[in-house]
């Protein structure tokens, strides 16, 4: 089955990014070798080898507790690697922080915080602005453009708690866009939002990758991972599989990644987890995807 999917990709659907080998360090914006990291005494990820090519869209998929967010935090320099080597934009993680935009999971944000949509997006400009300086004309232009791109220009003055789940994700993506980074690290950017918003946000990320920006996003949505990203890394503490996006629809990869949480029923994979992981805006808790949709 693995072979079949791989052949399909090689013949018809493979993009330029999919055909390149995965572990070359030279063209990588993010490069991890044998990385173990975690909280307290328990490792959340172990012996991770991963290379993210400049200008590519990488989806990190895996069940709850697989270490997706941990992996992203290591890349962002928010969590030190216990062992192994990490390079981000050619330096140690955190060194090139101003060229990195990190968007946390929606659940970790205090939505009652007294800030408006415009305020949040302007925060994307703060690091480049430096201390002691007030935002100027150029910063405001960046904020405007980012708001236009995500379709939130009319909500500039709205307090963030009054937004829907999809609008909240739009605003945080706008904050990342306003920073004009080389690398986007996005924790669940399209989780629990309506299909239209998801498509629009993916279009924006796609456009950013065409401009040479690199995107790493964790996601629960296997359909989005398979259709809209260039590459997929399936992890469950370790890297289970790492390859072209359509690989994730392979039942073998799926069952090794999701273990007992996944039913594979005759070419149709049914993912049975993380109902609680979605925003209030989520419509369905059970995702399914037909393997051969693209074939």
């Amino acid at each position: 089955m693995t072979k079949k999917v791989a052949t399909e990709v090689a013949t018809g659907l493979a993009t330029e990014h999919e055909r390149r080998p995965a572990h070359t360090r030279a063209h990588s914006d993010v490069w991890l070798s044998g990385v173990t990291a975690g909280y307290g005494e328990r490792p959340a990820i172990e012996h991770i080898d991963l290379a993210v090519e400049a200008g590519s869209l990488l989806a990190v998929v895996g069940p709850n507790g697989a270490g997706k967010s941990t992996l992203l935090k290591v890349m962002a320099g928010l969590l030190p690697a216990w062992s192994g080597r990490v390079e981000v934009l050619g330096s140690a993680p955190g060194r090139e922080a101003r060229r990195v935009a990190y968007v946390p999971q929606a659940e970790t944000v205090d939505w009652a915080f007294p800030v408006t949509v415009g305020d949040v997006v302007m925060m994307g400009r703060y690091p480049a602005l430096g201390p002691f300086r007030r935002p100027g004309v150029a910063d405001r232009r960046h904020v405007e453009e980012a708001l236009e791109k995500v379709g939130m220009a009319d909500h500039r003055q709205t307090q963030i708690g009054r937004l829907s789940g999809g609008q909240r994700r739009r605003v945080f993506l706008a904050r990342a866009l306003a920073a004009d980074p080389a690398l986007y690290l996005l924790d669940e950017p399209v989780t629990g939002i309506d299909a239209t918003t998801q498509e629009e946000l993916m279009d924006i990320l796609d456009a950013e990758s065409r401009r040479g920006r690199t995107v790493v996003a964790t996601t629960h949505d296997l359909a989005a991972a398979a259709q809209r990203f260039h590459r997929v890394a399936a992890i469950n503490k370790r890297v289970i599989a790492d390859g072209p996006a359509s690989m994730i629809l392979d039942p073998d990869v799926l069952s090794r990644t999701y273990g007992g949480h996944l039913l594979v029923l005759g070419g149709q994979a049914v993912l049975l987890d993380d109902a609680h992981h979605h925003d209030e805006g989520a419509t369905g808790e059970v995702h399914y995807h037909e393997e051969a949709r693209r074939g």
Binding site: G94, R98, D110, F113, V115, M123, P131
Partner: protein
Amino acid sequence: MDAFLEPLAFQFFQRALIASVLAGVVCAVVGSYVVLKGLAFIGDAIAHAAFPGVVVAFMVGAPYAIGGGIAAFLTAVSIGWISRRARIRLDTAIGVVFAGTFALGILLYSSIQGFVGDLFGFLVGNVLAISAGDLVGLIVLGSGVLIVVLLLWKELLYSTFDPLGAAASGLPVPALEYLFLGLVAVTIVVSLQAVGIILVVAMLVTPAATAQQLTVRFTRLLWLAMAIGAATAVAGLYLSYWFDVASGATIVLVQTIVFLAALLLSARQRLSGRARVAA
């Protein structure tokens, strides 16, 4: 009108007015961040921890502001350290440190109680007894805090709102945290004589909490909290003078009443807003 002008003829009242307004404004600014960071309990703990520092400063003849400030800052840092090292929650660590340091202060105080009646003023505030020299020191410290916040308000805001996003984009979030704890310590020292150790947490959180009922924009919240802090300080001091009651407690009670009023106002607005939506 005379009722307002009459006390202004006294120098002690002028000094008290300046000290109270300064404390009201500085507390409101720093308190806006305290409230949003959810650090009200830490603010209270730092304030109580200043007491042994003040007593020791008195014993060795050093300025109380230095003793109180150092004790307050060390406590703030050690709370963070303990909660990271020990297997306990942050609020438990605060409870332990807070009671321990305050007990140490009372122990030291009781050992020298015979000759220091005015140390009691630090517990409940005694702004009418403030000296000209102390006032100058408070103005320097208070302006220092305001200048730091003026320069770094947006960095403090980003790291308060989204510490992960801020750190990932290159802001020195841990350094900002320590700087902020230092600001809280200095703010408490500035307010000790105005309202006292026991009530200073109210000066920190109440104006900011009041402003939070009235606006959803951070910059507006800051200005509003400052205005509330200053106005309630003036009102409280006059009321305490006219009715001859404790000044610190009166200021805090005025703030509490203003908070309740804002709470009712915003609740009513929300209710009528909902009624409009339903209609």
